[in-house]
């Protein structure tokens, strides 16, 4: 009976992955191999995350909150807190989407690397997963407490996003762009159809 459980898991995983591969192949055929445009977009997305991460600390600035609480009327303070909360939530959702897009691109680009490193893959995946976990917690905290509480968790998530992007940036340098398709190319074949 002890053998049956892992073997059943193995068999089930094979069938599940086969189904996943079938579904994925349909999607990939509509959006074929990585193009030079994708490569350039990844670079842009990466730089934009770096850039925004540097600027976004201002949204969570406690000094701003203290100043408004001290100097503004209750209505203005309330409006300020609501605006900041909305902005912080929007920004975090956007960053999550960007990072997920970068990870997707990384996986699609990984096939073109000269020398894939399992340790590198592991590190990148670990960073991606820790960012996703931290950002889920942050979203909950932002929604419940607003942008000026739980600053340690927020800064950890921002730091993880930056760290993921640094690792991804190193990975992108290993890609051989000469092997990528140009944006106008689509489904290439060995022989004429």
């Amino acid at each position: 009976m002890t053998v049956l459980v892992p073997i059943s898991v193995l068999g089930t995983l094979i069938v599940v992955l086969a189904v996943r591969l079938f579904v994925q192949s349909g999607e990939t055929r509509q959006r074929p191999a990585v193009t030079v445009d994708d490569y350039a977009n990844a670079r842009e997305a990466l730089n934009s995350v770096f850039l925004e991460t540097a600027l976004i600390n201002r949204i969570f600035s406690v000094e701003d909150a203290e100043f408004v609480a001290r100097a503004a009327t209750p209505d203005v303070a309330c409006s300020f807190f609501n605006e900041r909360k909305k902005f912080a939530l929007q920004w975090f959702r956007k960053i999550r989407k960007e990072v997920a897009r970068l990870m997707d691109l990384h996986l699609r680009l990984a096939g073109y690397t000269y020398d894939p490193s399992p340790m590198f893959e592991l590190r990148l995946t670990a960073k991606y997963l820790s960012f996703m976990l931290a950002s889920n917690i942050v979203l909950l905290l932002l929604w419940l407490l607003g942008p000026f509480k739980g600053t340690r968790c927020i800064s950890y998530a921002i730091h993880t996003a930056g760290s993921f992007c640094t690792t991804f940036s190193l990975r992108l340098d290993q890609v051989n762009p000469a092997r990528l398709l140009s944006g106008s190319d689509s489904w290439h074949t060995d022989r004429p159809v």
Binding site: M1, I7, G11, A18, L51, G183, T189
Partner: protein, 253 residues
């Protein structure tokens, strides 16, 4: 009667897959896969002949022929590996190491088990070796599937159909072996019914997927002037973005 129908349907589908493969040129594209199909067809014909002409000999030849087809089915793994990762040399190199290590592990484990003589009879030895080889084949296939899914490897319709059918067959077969070797479960109705249905379903998938020869995705040739220009543009955009990043950092209070 039901067994006979399944047998006839299965053997006919095997023959159709083989004949269509030869007719449309898939035989040349996937020689190892079609060798496996030929091997299974031969086993089925030998099995039927012995069952009809000398029923006692059927019991004797069942597990040895089963072992032979399981060993032959490893060729399909090699075919999937060769065809799907031929444009992804980095991943192929890594996967090759994993597959070779797993194969060496299987061979050494099987050899040790045989040398230690832990099997009651030669018949049970063959049966258990077949089961272990199937488990290892399942593990290898899982690694291959994971690589294909994770790295979004492009597959042509023929190769995709081959992989889907093979995965379905191995996935169910692995569970079936585990059920069959459970103590007191040797004659269980579920595995005995499951295998023939899966077998016919797999052959149907292969028959449909390999009915005609479909083009495989390939990498474009390098050196196009347009692409060189795009590369240059990509690099320039990247440098501009990096410069603006630094500018913002400098301007920060």
């Amino acid at each position: 009667m039901e067994t006979h129908i399944i047998w006839w349907v299965g053997t006919s589908l095997l023959a159709v897959v083989l004949i269509r493969g030869a007719a449309v040129g898939n035989l040349r594209n996937y020689p190892l896969f079609y060798s496996y199909i030929g091997c299974v067809l031969l086993k089925e014909v030998v099995g039927l002949l012995s069952y009809q002409l000398a029923p006692h000999s059927y019991e004797l030849i069942y597990w040895p022929t089963e072992l032979a087809t399981i060993v032959a089915s490893y060729a399909v793994i090699v075919e999937i590996f060769r065809k799907s990762l031929r444009h992804n040399r980095g991943i192929a190199r890594r996967a090759q190491k994993v597959l070779l290590a797993a194969f060496a592990l299987t061979v050494s484990y099987t050899a040790t088990a045989l040398l230690n003589g832990r099997f009651a009879t030669a018949y049970s030895a063959i049966a258990e070796v077949s089961r272990d080889l199937r488990y290892m084949e399942g593990a290898l296939l899982l690694v291959m599937l994971w690589l294909l899914v994770r790295y979004r490897i492009l597959l042509g319709p023929n190769l995709l159909g081959l992989i889907i059918g093979y995965s379905f067959w191995i996935g169910v077969n692995v569970v079936n072996f585990a059920l069959l070797f459970l103590p007191g479960n040797e004659f269980s109705a579920l595995p005995r019914r499951l295998v023939p249905i899966t077998y016919v379903a797999t052959l149907t998938i292969w028959c449909v997927a390999l009915w005609s020869s479909q083009p495989e995705p390939a990498q474009p040739t390098e050196g196009a002037i347009e692409r060189d220009y795009e590369l240059l543009a990509a690099k320039t955009r990247s440098i501009l973005a990096r410069t603006s990043n630094r500018l913002v950092r400098v301007m920060k209070p």
